[in-house]
């Protein structure tokens, strides 16, 4: 079998595997930028989302649980980011075989040597970008599409580039399906299949850039396409042991640019301890053991 047909076959298999089987209801109401789901009561959240978004109550419950955990871990701290977290249906972006772990804290395989990052990391990265409505955000490495879907709840200008063509097409299928079901906010996501190293010059400059693929240096074209005072975040390291690098670009008084690398934890030690289990709002253990 030649490699291309093998890849194509694999892509088809993965596409088939990527389709979820649970009831896929249409979103009952048009998207509302001001809508704010309840954040302090699990059942109220589920009821609200079933009513306004037509989503599956089981997944909604899991989403709320991981939301509480993520807030507890200070990976979410802003209402607009909390809203984005709660509004994004992560279960739509994982492979069928991983549906029961869609809201686990782990990163998951999505094929092609690519993972969908764990919810905690996505929340921390997105929160660190401090995206506000109207920001132009570029994502390098669309992958599952979850990150750009999340961003589309923060701004109406999301640009995302994926290098692996079959993955690009599969994610496109997922988006098309979701938009057809009424997730109109995802129309804000502009996609292309290309080498993200060179950014997206036609739409530059960007206020924020998030890079989700491994590379041994920060691509200079991306730094060029970042606006002054813009922020770029890049997870570094292998999946599961990734640390987020924050890069800021500043225009100095002398007209030159300065680039500063920093962590996203404001200089404190990153808490690596396992994701904790909550019960009645208290930590009772962790999800490893």
């Amino acid at each position: 079998m030649n490699r291309r047909s093998f890849l194509a076959g694999t892509a088809f298999g993965v596409i088939a595997a990527g389709q979820a089987t649970f009831a896929q209801a249409a979103v009952p109401e048009p998207y509302d930028w001001t809508a704010m789901p309840p954040m302090d009561d699990r059942q109220a959240f589920i009821d609200y989302m079933v009513q306004h978004r037509g989503e599956d109550p089981t997944f909604l419950g899991q989403r709320f649980d991981i939301f509480l955990n993520t807030v507890q871990h200070k990976d979410l701290w802003d209402d607009k980011d909390k809203r984005a977290f709660l509004m994004t249906p992560r279960e739509e972006f994982v492979l069928k075989r991983n549906l029961d772990r869609a809201y686990a804290s782990d990163f998951l395989d999505i094929g092609f040597g690519v993972t969908i990052s764990g919810p905690r990391l996505v929340a921390r990265m997105s929160s660190s970008l401090n995206v506000v409505k109207g920001d132009k955000v570029l994502e390098i490495g669309s992958g599952s599409g979850y990150q750009s879907a999340y961003l589309s709840h923060l701004t109406d200008q999301v640009y995302t580039i994926e290098i692996v063509q079959p993955l690009f097409e599969r994610t496109g299928g997922i988006y098309a399906d979701l938009i057809a079901r009424g997730y109109s906010e995802f129309t804000a996501v502009n996609r292309k299949n290309d080498d993200g190293y060179y950014g997206w010059a036609e739409n530059a400059p960007f206020d924020k850039i998030v890079v989700t693929c491994g590379i041994d240096h920060v691509p200079p074209p991306l730094l060029e396409q970042l606006k002054p005072d813009g922020i770029m975040v890049i997870p570094v390291g292998p999946p599961g042991a990734q640390h987020v690098l924050k890069v800021t670009k500043t225009l100095n008084a002398d007209g030159k640019f300065t680039v500063a690398r920093s962590d996203i934890y404001r200089g404190s030690i990153v808490n690596f301890v396992p994701f904790t289990k909550l019960q009645d709002g208290k930590i009772v253990g962790n999800h490893n053991g």
């Binding site: 074209p221 042991a241 640390h243 962590d263 904790t276 930590i283 490893n288």
Partner: protein, 870 residues
Amino acid sequence: MPLGFRLYAAVGALAGAVIALQIAVMRVFAVGSWSHFGSLVVSLAMLGFGMASVFIFLGKSWLDRHSKGTATLALFLVGPLAVGANLAAQMVPFNAIFLISDPTQKWRLLANFLLYLLPFLSGAFFLGIVFRQGKEHFNRLYFADLLGSGLAGLAILGALYVLPPEKLLVAPLILWGVSLVLWERRWIASVCFAALVTAAYLVLPAILGVPSITVSSYKGVSYARNFPDAKRLYRDISPFGDLQVYSSSYMHFAPGLSDNAAFNVPELPANTYVGMYIDGEGPSGIMRALPPEDAAYYQYLPMYYPYVVKPNAKTFVVQFGGGLSVMTALNAGASSVTIAEANPAVLRAFHAPELADVTGHILANPKVKVVGYDGRLYLAHTDERYDVIDLSLADSVGLSNPGGFAIAEKYAYTEQALLAYIQGLNDGGVLSMTLWNKEEPPKSVLRFYATVAKAAQTAGGDWAKSLFVSESYLSTTTILYKKGGFTEAEVATLRQHTADLSFDEVYSAGYVFDPTMAKGILGQYRASIFGDGTEAASLAGDGPAIGPPTVDSATAPSDGTHVATTADAPSDAPSDAPPDDGATAVPSTTLARMIWQGFVQDADVAGQYVFDVHPLTDDKPYLAGYIRPSDLTKTLDRLDTVQDDWGYLLLWATLGIACLAAMVLILPPMIFGGSMGASIGGAGKAAIILYFGCLGLGYITVEVGLISWFARALTNPTISASIVISGMLVFSGIGSWVAEKITKATWVLPALMAGIAMWLGAMTYVLPGLLEAIGAYSYLIRLICCLAMVAPVAFLMGFPMATAMTWLASRGQEQMFVWAWGINGSFSVIGAAAVPLIAVSFGLSAVLGVAAVGYLLAMLAFLAMVRRVR
């Protein structure tokens, strides 16, 4: 059952097939996923020997009546089982990075283990039955077994040059076929059967649509293959690995490139790079020669550092790799560049016509001189001296691919290696070392800092003035050592260069460190790993007692301080507060600064860190085992936080499984003790277990230990393994052959074992010097020297097993025979898992020490056995 030569040859060929199969399976794992999982699967599969012995023991009456048929069936099954197991394993690949998060992965790992166990079990069954039936001539059979294994080890080394990994199983299948033909009188049928099985191995994957080797999509080469315009330009197979070079416009390499390059260097032309992969790992970037207008690019790479203070340098590059250090040196105006590369496959690639377009004939540059072997060995023995010695990203230190955290000897990074580099410097020469700095919390970088500090101290002089250290957060770190110390002006120049690159100065003679910045940082790092998640990571008050650094006013910068680009935020910033928008402090840089101050002030700061960051030495050359033994149990519920130490933890798991399996295998004969002969009581059985257990443990410990030792002189683990395994097996085989002639008296064997123990003890003292001394000679001479070092002790180590087995047979203890053989096999597996753990924790010397103790215990057990078994 055939007799005479045909029997021995059949045994030898099958034993050889088993060894060849082990190596082939490990290669399949190395190319498809990660080699250390291959070692795990194979070493556990060798439990097949213990398992076979139990089956034979339990069914000995029946087997005695049907020995020929059963042995023939077991032999016939080896080939089909090897082919079937390998094919099925490709259908259930497992992925190490999801071992914790995906529950199905552990079952896939188990499936791989069980599948590959089958051919080994079948082979062991055959050998066990033959040994039992031919017990009177055990030493000759054992000789054939060892000789066959040893020669096959060499044969597969040759096969690695001609058979790519996806066809490598052909080698064990041929040996199996030979064994079949020798064993079975209907040789035409045997030939046809072996040919059919081999053909099935070659064509079944295509027919069934299963890859010959399922390559993990997380291997570097898989990403390259996903690029739409990817094209394989070159492939070279050899024992040095499966080297492949891919081109694609999607490849971009610039290890550690400063972020400032974006505003100062024009965009590089497309297709500037191609990627080199060895066993699918990589890539190492090979770069086309850049046009002059792009030459500024090199100044933004960390490997440019030494040339800031050493223009027109006579340069030595310790490891050539993809050639980026050489390009940098040439562009920095080096007057000459001598490169060392121990992997001949890499040099072949750079000479290959197919790659001439991309390598730009760099090796043919008149300024470039090539040394075709290890840079460290060369520098230790040459009279040449250099202005700059470069050790830049020569190895993926601390930056392995996911799941690929193997435990391997890093002899290029030890204290002794650094001293060899320093010795190779001219007065005023600069040693430049650049490593990946991508861990948080940092581990390998701190261990290497400790090594550099130790080497600098040992080298003497005012060593604190000889160092300049800078980091780029989550990118690279560069350490410069200048023989004779940096001048104030040079420090200022380096400091300016650091600022120009937006890197962070970590240490220099004039660097002013504010200890209040690091207050509580050690406790915070500990809490971040072993806390329960509830602590605010802002523990305070446990910082080490480091006073303000003694600033040499003569070397301090004019303003007395250096303002770094990061890490200057107050240390009491709330740990769990949301980040703000500004550039913020980086704890790992603060930690690194504090640890360097500790080195200079002789305060044991590194010793208080959550991870073990002791210096690397030739005796402990490992960038692994960071978890302190006292913390091991605490990692069980947080394995995902220590993923880069999984290779180490996996060894503990392997050891545990091996011990458990060994107990299970030893117990049945103990439970069914009534049939073992009334003449052996509990003490006798214990002596037998101890004797054969210690032999198994001792033998494998020496074997695996010497592979690690010799890798230093032979510079390649595959060659080292082949030479040690083959050499030991062949010489031990000869030992077992002559054993029956000279060990009739019972005092001879204990005396020999005492001799082995003494020899091994002596080796721990003599080997370092010997290996250092032979480093100056040609590769062939080094190979012969290594064989000569192995031969005497391996010869002696062939005696105890053969003699004791023959002795058991002569005492009418046939029922004990196969059991003892199984104990030996099971303890071999335990030993194989224990060696790296002993080496990482106590050093390579301790490995041979443990083996020596094993042989002394075996000696005592033998004396007890003689008394108890009449």
